[in-house]
Symmetry: C2
Subunit: 379 residues, 2 copies
């Protein structure tokens, strides 16, 4: 419980809400008549309005990327290691905007929000949202904040996909794109893991076809399983081995199904349990689908270089050696396409044992390279 | 529907049952008072009783390893590519024994069998069985068949663990050990995937604490999810990519949760569905636990070479380049330990795109090396 915040913390922050009344046409063919986006900002927009950085979140992320909501918060925002005074995304230089995406469960309009057509929660009736839709909704937030062009759009994993999409959908509005631990599209294996997670949720009797909120229940078991399987893919085999190995939970084996034998089982169950109490099942389904659907090159017959040709941004790509969810090879696909398209691209493959999760962690070489790139951005 | 069987098929085969009345003390501390093992044999035991080969099955395997039960069978036994006249395990030379392990759901005593204490199915009351227990029960089957020593004990994956355990538990009874795509113990990641599968089953409301049989239901959703997550780990990322890529099930995207968008989703759902109709949930739990518990070196402070020192067998280890469930590195751990223990060991790492499943597939270089080794076994 920090009574004073560290000098490199953005300190106390408060979420804000932007309401949009213009209908938003979505890739799925449906239209959201109106919606709200909850967001936070850190730092100050300069007079030229040229120092704004957009943070795009990953699967289970949200708008609270840095700082604290209260002095009693045990933990800061999810990317506090990278955002703050003197940090990689230096709030002394940049005006940082972090939002909760449409379809989310942290305040922006999503499945838990009231459907204006019925007055009840959308639940499963919330329309499918894609990375393109998110970028379009983020562009409206930029308009609202008076940001004609981002100094940088930054994200890891699914957030990196949004950063890439920005350079394609709104090329003139992005000067720098920082895409970390991401991929130009999911592989069959990536989709397969998402499908297991979805089936876990969809087949939970407490899911009630996505209208569990009206029944006063949550599909806890399904969400727990979804998170457990996801979590395995976020960690490397090495990292799991180093963290848990075959360490026993108790001194000796129990030889039954109810006991937890190995520490790794206990850890996974805890992760699943904790997640199921704070995340919305319909949002989880939507996020995994947005991942599956992301494939900007499809419109160009699979030619990623042609897809990225309109981009006006400079690019920084970073990947982590033991990330097997979105391996360095997936980042190199993007780098190769950018090079083929004649773009200005920096690429760094960072030696890190932590797997996909590395992008969230304070790994010195990563933070140093990230800070170095961001500090060279002209404002 | 073959009307005549191929020349290299063992043709029509029939399972047999061996009943054992001597109680079997198990590693968990409990005792099975009596039990049955169902098995098949292919080929003929020679007069010297020196040509017997034991096939140990993997997680979802059974005694029906080769040939057909009827002329109408669509498929032969699970390892028909390796067992038959002139095949790697040549039934013109060898007398092959394949059994369903204790705790199985294909005829041997297991959770679906009647518990003599209650007259009802064991269900969740079936005792935990380990690789050591299986080897001990297999030794009794060998006694029954008059086989003092196996020419070879052979298995892939969990079957390979049994083959290794034979050389430790009964060193004088094994001349050759062929352990394919296996590991000396599970990694934390391996255990984590098993734990997800178990939680899927245990949390299914139709599981009824393992006594679903008495309720006339099966935990179909749980088994389906368990198989889906397992299946992903059996295939390589490359193999899934080559087989499915991002191919769509229909011409265009549906943007909903009920439709199947990608072929890989359809494939996985089918695999899970099909498996849930033919496999027992309690057996699945037992098999994953046997995998988790396998760690023969633990009794020697983690020293695998010391563990394998008593072995009298010669060893053939084979692994597959894209197997990420039990990668080549895991086989090399065993090879290194065997070399350190001064054993006679051959090792082959086979270039194969199919991942862990490769050990079941007719990959020319694999079959050739396998056959070459088996043919050099003196009878």
């Amino acid at each position: 419980m920090p009574t004073a915040f560290a000098a490199d913390s953005v300190g106390l922050v408060s979420p804000q809400v932007a309401h949009f009344d213009e209908p938003l046409a979505l890739a799925c063919g449906r239209t959201l008549p109106a919606y709200e986006l909850v967001y936070e900002t850190y730092g100050t927009l300069n007079a030229a309005r040229s120092n704004a950085v957009l943070i795009c979140h990953a699967l289970s992320g949200h708008h609270h990327a840095a700082g604290y909501h209260s002095e009693h918060d045990r933990k800061p925002g999810w990317w506090d290691s990278c955002i703050g005074p003197g940090k990689a995304i230096d709030t002394n230089r940049f005006f940082v905007v972090a939002l909760n995406n449409l379809g989310g469960c942290n305040g922006s309009t999503g499945p838990s929000s009231a459907n204006p057509a019925t007055g009840k929660p959308y639940g499963a009736d919330f329309p499918m949202v894609t990375v393109e839709d998110w970028v379009n909704s983020q562009a409206r937030l930029a308009d609202r904040l008076g940001i004609a062009q981002w100094a940088a759009v930054v994200g890891g994993s699914l957030g990196g996909m949004q950063a890439l999409q920005w350079t394609i959908s709104h090329p003139e509005r992005v000067r720098h794109c920082v895409a970390i631990a991401t991929a130009p599209r999911l592989s069959a294996q990536n989709i397969a893991f998402n499908e297991v997670a979805r089936q876990a949720i969809l087949s939970d009797p407490e899911f009630h076809g996505g209208h569990f909120q009206e029944q006063g229940v949550i599909p806890k078991r399904g969400l727990m399983l979804a998170r457990m399987v996801g979590h395995i893919t976020y960690l490397s085999d090495d990292a799991m081995g180093a963290k848990f190995g075959r360490d026993l939970k108790n001194d000796k084996l129990n030889y039954d199904f109810n006991s937890v034998e190995f520490q790794v089982e206990s850890y996974l169950r805890y992760q699943g349990e904790e997640f199921s109490t704070r995340f919305d099942a319909n949002t989880y389904l939507l996020m995994t689908k947005a991942l599956d659907y992301f494939d900007p090159a499809q419109a160009h017959g699979g030619d990623l270089a042609a897809t990225l040709a309109p981009a006006q941004a400079r690019f920084l790509l970073m990947s982590f050696t033991t990330d097997w969810r979105f391996s360095p090879a997936r980042s190199r696909e993007i780098v190769d396409a950018l090079v083929a398209a004649g773009k200005d691209v920096s690429y760094l493959e960072i030696e890190a044992a932590q797997g996909h999760d590395a992008f969230l962690l304070p790994i010195p070489r990563y933070l140093q390279a990230f800070r170095g790139y961001m500090n060279r951005i002209a404002l």
